[in-house]
């Protein structure tokens, strides 16, 4: 590899951003502390995880059946459903609908899948005004950025930056007090809600037995988005289903407690079909767009598990790598451990091959995941695929072939250790520490001392003294 990759550039930039790192740390500590307390409060959290995992596994194993049932029920309740093979298909359907219905203004509540399919740009290119209404999403939309956390999209922005963005939008100077900024957002966004022709939401869960769409939010913007505009469009990843209401209850409990540590979010909304005759509000039309966009290719593979994800963000909140680089460094819509697994699976290892290596394999993600996705083991599998598909750097391939050749044979291995011992002599300080390394070791020695191979290896000691000492032991052996 020559020079730094785009990923390494982003990581370098993030590591130098003290505000970003402090605010990610604080958010993480707040959210992960909340999750631990909420799990303890529940009681038998492990039993609940086991149940959640079983429901997700079952649903994904029978996804064809449940999607079919869901679609039938959506239609019975008067809704429309469209199955989009690709991001392009999903965008086209929504655009055509917007054009056909004379939509000029759209309000959106937070939806990762709509980010994934690049929906906003497509609508804006057709002259449709799109407004993100989640406070965090509104901030980053004004900044022209993308979310940096699944549930806290604007954690990388400080209040001064928010005040500047809002002041520019307002055409006057706003105070940077939270209440003032929130009050401005409320007024501004309320105007948008009342004017919008179309509301676009994601879908936290779809209930197959009733064709219902379930949305959770703390702000209430998902309620406004799904209540006021005359057309409601739901964009959902195809795996977002649960079979029944009682399964929903289990997963909602896992979701809100894992995401923010709340027993429930301020708003949970289940929508079934458009408004009924006699209703004066609620959408006249409900359209549900089910998105595949690479997901079905994971079915029947060792990565099928990743479709169990309920997008709670718990893995981001415990990840030490995410903690220091934030979400944008991942260079994709999904960040953190789930992003490091999902992004290369949906978009290819060729482009995102570094992400599976953005982990110390500490396993905190796997431990936190409410539906027990073995995230760090999937990262190992992705690394394996990368190597077996010949996508890893040539130098590294040679290095590991060399390593195996040496480590297969103790003579070679310890000859190499001795050679290292001799070669590093001139480089070490008086205490025998290496302050500067050569080649592949230099990222270590840039910040950390490295020990020299000992002048007497353990096996040397064993040969000289260790084995003999054992012989003189007169105690009884266990």
């Amino acid at each position: 590899m020559n020079g730094k990759s785009a990923f390494q550039e982003r990581v370098g930039k993030a590591l130098e951003d003290d505000f970003l790192r402090r605010s990610v740390r604080e958010t993480q500590d707040r959210l992960r502390g909340g999750r631990v307390a909420a799990a303890a409060d529940w009681g038998d959290w492990e039993a609940l995880r086991t149940r959640g995992e079983a429901i997700r596994r079952h649903t994904v194993e029978h996804l064809d059946v449940y999607l079919d049932r869901f679609a039938t029920r959506v239609e019975e309740a008067g809704g429309h459903i469209f199955f989009a093979d690709t991001a392009e298909d999903a965008r086209r359907y929504i655009l055509q609908l917007a054009v056909a219905k004379g939509v000029s203004s759209v309000v959106k509540s937070k939806s990762m899948v709509s980010e994934e399919i690049g929906l906003n740009h497509a609508l804006e290119a057709e002259g449709v005004e799109v407004t993100e209404t989640d406070l965090g999403e509104f901030i980053i939309q004004l900044a022209g950025e993308t979310p940096s956390h699944i549930i806290a999209p604007a954690i990388h922005k400080n209040r001064k930056q928010v005040a500047e963005l809002f002041s520019r939008e307002a055409g006057r100077t706003l105070s940077d007090a939270t209440e003032a900024l929130t009050a401005y957002a409320r007024r501004r966004l309320r105007e948008k809600f009342l004017r919008a022709d179309m509301g676009i939401t994601g879908c936290n869960f779809g209930v197959a037995e009733s064709g219902s769409v379930v949305l959770v939010s703390n702000e209430g913007n998902a309620r406004l988005t799904s209540s006021l505009p005359r057309i409601h469009v739901v964009v959902m990843g195809m795996e977002r289903l649960v079979p029944r209401w009682k399964d929903l209850d289990v997963l909602l409990t896992l979701l809100t407690r894992s995401a923010t540590g709340q027993k429930i979010t301020s708003y949970v909304t289940a929508i079934t079909g458009p408004r009924r005759s006699g209703d004066a509000d609620g959408p006249e039309e409900l359209h549900i767009v089910v998105v595949d966009n690479g997901r079905s290719a994971l079915l029947g593979t060792k990565y099928q598990h990743v479709l169990h994800c309920i997008r709670c963000g718990a893995c981001l909140n415990v990840c030490p790598v995410y903690r220091h680089i934030g979400g944008h460094a991942y260079g994709s819509v999904y960040s953190g451990p789930i992003g490091a697994v999902l992004t290369p699976l949906l978009n290819g290892l060729e482009k995102y091959g570094e992400l599976p290596y953005a982990s110390s394999l500490c396993g905190a993600c796997t431990e936190a995941c409410p539906v027990r996705i073995p995230l760090h083991e999937l990262l190992l599998e992705l690394r394996r695929d990368q190597v077996e598909e010949g996508l890893s750097p040539r130098v590294e391939q040679m290095a590991f072939r060399g390593f195996a050749w040496m480590a297969e044979d103790p003579k070679r291995f310890f000859a190499a250790a001795k050679l290292g011992q001799w070669l590093t002599r001139p480089l070490a300080d008086e205490a025998g520490r290496l302050k500067k390394g050569m080649g592949p070791l230099s990222p270590w020695t840039e910040s950390r001392d490295f020990p020299r191979p000992a002048s007497q290896a353990f096996r040397d000691w064993w040969r000289r003294e260790g084995r003999r000492e054992g012989g003189t032991d007169d105690g009884s052996t266990r």
């Binding site: 903690r323 396993g363 390593f403 070791l441 260790g466 052996t477």
Partner: protein, 240 residues
């Protein structure tokens, strides 16, 4: 009981004193220990980087060297987890090797785990000082051993063990991660080092030389004098 010492490559090459302490402590407890010289490394550097074929070649060497002992004891939670949890999976396509891997997996133990399982928690050690213990992630989450080293340390007279803030957080070692993602790895190490220093202890203790090499390397680069010891070194010192 014949106990095979699996020293690990890091101890064998860089930290022989840890292996020596382990031999001394185990002998003192009456175990008949042996060190088969056919061993080198468990293969994690290759395996964890995605080089399963290379990892498998190295793993077979370790299985050959260690499989004849009643128990295999290693001063590394990470390498014990590799043998116990990953070896059988690594041999999925070679039934005979899978059987041998499972055989070894069933009798390979991390040092503190091995002792505590046999009820050996109070070794009679005495050492004045304050310490924090760093849990390695592989030992905590993959091997699922957290209490054993703490139980051994709790019985060291004169030693005060202090709590580390965010004890569940990784130190940033992660094998090749430490060089592939040097910047992130250092940021993680720095936070851990800050936590360690905030406790004002004399000793940083651990059960994995990977973590301790990382944290020790960062501590010494930052000019800090906290002494870094493997649990078995502290016990050995406290027994003499």
């Amino acid at each position: 009981m014949r106990v095979g010492i699996f020293a690990t490559c890091l101890v064998d090459v860089f930290f022989p004193e840890v292996g020596i302490s382990m031999v001394r402590v185990l002998r003192r407890l009456g175990f008949d220990v042996d060190f088969p010289e056919g061993q080198t490394c468990c293969g994690q550097p290759a395996f964890n980087t995605g080089y399963w074929a290379e990892g498998r070649r190295v793993a077979k060497g370790l299985i050959r060297a260690m499989e004849s002992y009643d128990a295999v004891v290693t001063p590394s939670g990470s390498c014990a987890a590799m043998v116990r949890r990953m070896y059988p999976r690594l041999m999925d396509e070679e039934p005979e090797w899978k059987r041998r891997a499972e055989h070894l997996a069933a009798r390979c133990f991390e040092f503190s785990e091995f002792l505590v399982q046999r009820g050996l928690v109070d070794l009679g050690a005495r050492l004045e000082g304050t310490a924090v213990y760093h849990h390695s992630c592989h030992m905590r989450r993959d091997l699922q051993v957290t209490e054993a080293p703490l139980r051994l340390l709790a019985h060291v007279r004169g030693l005060t063990l202090k709590a580390l803030p965010h004890p569940e957080d990784c130190c940033g070692f992660g094998g090749t991660f430490a060089v592939k993602m040097g910047g992130i790895s250092t940021a993680m190490a720095d936070e851990k080092v800050d936590h360690i220093l905030s406790t004002g202890v004399d000793f940083l203790l651990g059960s994995d030389m990977g973590c301790l090499m990382n944290l020790g390397g960062r501590l010494s680069r930052r000019g800090e004098s906290v002494e870094v010891l493997h649990v078995v070194q502290l016990l050995d010192r406290g027994l003499n």
